[in-house]
C-alpha cells in the first residue's frame, strides 16, 4: 500500500469521524426520548459511521499516487500573511470599528501581494470602504457599529 498525502488526509478524516461518532454517542437526549426510534443523536451516529466507512475504504483500497504537487512553486508565505491579516481583522473589527479595520485590511493586503503604488492602495481602501459603508449604513440601513468614527464625531 502506497502512503501518499491523500491517504494521510483520509486517515485524518477517519480519526475525525471516529471523534464525531464518539461525541454523537455522548449527546444528552431527554430521558423520554432515549429509546425513541429517532432522537437528536440518531442521524449524527449514522454520519459518523458513514465517514469512517468511506475514509476507511479510501485508506485500504490500492491507489496510485497521481497527484503531483510541486511545493517549491507554491506561495505559502504570501498565503499565510493574507490569512494572518484576515485573523487580525477579525480580532480588531469590534473594538476599532468597520471603517478603519476594513480600510487597513485592504491596504495591508494589497501591499502584501506586492502592490507598491500608494495612490492606488489608498484609493481602493479608505474612500472605497467609505463609499461601501455609506451604501450599507446610509442607503440600505444596515447598522454598522464603529467606535472609531464615533470617537472622531463622524457617526452618531
Amino acid at each position: 500500500m502506497n502512503i501518499n498525502t491523500t491517504k494521510v488526509i483520509s486517515l485524518l478524516f477517519f480519526v475525525f469521524s471516529a471523534f464525531y461518532l464518539y461525541t454523537a454517542y455522548n449527546i444528552q437526549v431527554f430521558s423520554f426520548d432515549e429509546n425513541a426510534p429517532f432522537n437528536a443523536k440518531t442521524f449524527p451516529i449514522y454520519l459518523g459511521y458513514a465517514g469512517m466507512f468511506f475514509s476507511g475504504l479510501k485508506i485500504i483500497l490500492p491507489e496510485p499516487n497521481t497527484i503531483k504537487i510541486n511545493h517549491k512553486y507554491l506561495e505559502y508565505k504570501k498565503t499565510a500573511i493574507l490569512v494572518i491579516i484576515a485573523l487580525i481583522y477579525g480580532a480588531t473589527i469590534l473594538k476599532v470599528g468597520y471603517f478603519l479595520t476594513t480600510s487597513l485590511f485592504l491596504a495591508f493586503s494589497y501591499y502584501a501581494l506586492g502592490e507598491r503604488r500608494w495612490y492606488l492602495i489608498f484609493a481602493l481602501s479608505f474612500p472605497f470602504v467609505g463609499a461601501f459603508m455609506y451604501l450599507l449604513h446610509g442607503v440600505l440601513e444596515i447598522y454598522l457599529r464603529d467606535p472609531f468614527l464615533k470617537t472622531i464625531g463622524v457617526m452618531g
Partner: protein, 503 residues
Amino acid sequence: MTEGILIGLKTALTFQNILMVMVGCFFGTIIGMLPGLGPMTAIALMIPITYGFEPATGLILMAGVYYGAVFGGSTSSILLNAPGVPGTVATSFDGYPMAQQGKAGKALAIAAWSSFAGGTLATFYLLFLAPSLSKVSLSFRSPDYFALMLLGLTAIAAFSSKGQFLKAMMMVVLGLMLASVGQDSLSDITRFTFNNMNLTDGISFVLVVMATFAMSEALTIILKRNDPSAVAKQVSLTELGSIKINKEETGQMLKTIPRNSIIGFIIGVLPGAGATIASFLAYGMERNFVSDKEKEKFGKGSVHGLAAPETANNAACSGAFVPLLTLGIPGSGTTAVMLGALLGFGIQPGPRLYITNPEIFWSVIMSMYIGMVILLILNLPLIPYIARILAVPKNFLIPLILFFSITGIYVMSFNNFDIYLMIGIAVIATFMRLYDFPMPPLILAFVLGGLMEENLRRSLLLSNGSWEFLWDRPLTASILTVTVLIVIWHIYKTLKANRTKSY
C-alpha cells in the same frame, strides 16, 4: 384559467409592476454577481421595501430579484469560479475553464441565452401545469424525499469527482456533519457546539459557501501564483473573446436546453429540492446524454456542460413557485423567505390562492416571463463591461474578494467568531482542493443536511423505527435502487481504474 391569465397579464403589465420587474432584475443581477451575496440576502433586504406596495407588486419585485440574482450568480461562477449562489456552482464546472481558455464572453453569452430559454420554457410549463403539478408533489412522502436527497448527494459525488468517488463521498459526509452542528430542530438539544454559544444556531450556509468557494478560491490563486501551469491559465483569463455563438454551439444548446428545462422544472417543483439540485442533476444527466467524445470535454469547457445547469437552475426557479403558490410549501431557501413575506402581507398561500387571489397568482407567473426578457436585454449588452472584472490585477482582485466575503459574513451576524470560523474552513478547504477533494458535494450536503434528517426522522417515527419504509413504496424503492447502483458502479470503476494505473 383564461380569465385568471388575463387578470394576471393586466396586473403584470401596469407601469409600476413592469418598473418593479426591471428594478428587481437589475438589483438582483448586481447582488448575484458579488460572491457571497445571493438571492436570499437580496430578497431579505427587499422585504421592508415591499411592505409599502400592494402584495402583487411586492411579490413581483421579489421574483425579479430572485431571477436576477440567479442570472447574475452565473457571472461570478464563470469569471471568478466563486459562485455566490449555490444554484450556479455547477455553472463554474465548465464556465470557468471556458473563461480560462479566453472564451469568457462566449461562456457568459451561452449562460445568458440558456438562462433565458430555461426560464422562459419553465414559465410556460408553470402556466399550463401548475394546478396538476401541485398534486404530483403532494403525493411525495417523507421516505421519497429522503431517498431523493440520497440520490441527489450520490449523483453529485459521482459526477463532480472526476474519478475520485470516495473523496467526493467523504466531502458529502463532511457537509452533512457540518450541517448537524447546532440545535436539533425538534428537541432543541444542542449538538457539537462544545459549549460555544456562537455555534448554537448552527453554521450559516453563506459562511460555508463563502469559505469553501470565494475565500478558498482567492487563497488558491495566491498559493499557485508562481505555479507555471496556473500562471499560463491566468494569463489567458485576461482575454474576453467574442460573445458570438457559432452554429455548432447553437445546435448543441438547442439539444441541451429543452431536456434540461424539463429536468430543472420538475426538480424545482419538489419542495426542498430547488435550483441547486436541479443544476447538479442536469449537469450529471447531460453527461450521460452526450457522445463519448463530448463527455471528455466535461469539466474542460463543454458547451453542453455549461448550458445544462444554467437552463436547469432558471427552470427550477419557476418550478419552485409551484409548491409555494399552490401548497404554501417553499421549494427552496429563497422561496422560504418569500413565503415569510407573503404571510407578512396577510396572504396564506395554498391550494385556494389562485381562486381567492388570482391577481397575485397569475401576475407573478406573467411577470416571470417579462423578467426573462428584461434580463436578456440587460445582461447580453452588458457582458463586455461585466467581464472587465477580469482585467483587475490579482493584487487588487484577491483582497477585494476577501473583503466581500468577510463583509458578507460580518453584516449578517456582527460577530467576529464567524470571521474566525470562515477563515478556518477556508484554509482547510484550500488545502483539500490542492489534493483534489471536490467542494460542490460538501455544499449540497450542507444545504440538504437538515431536510434529510427531518425526513428520515418522520419516516422512522411513522414506521415505528423499522427500516421497511425504504422498500414499502415502489417510488422510494426505485429511487434507492438507482442510488445503490450509482454507488456500486462508481466504486467498481474506481477500483478498475486504479488497477489499470498500477500496471
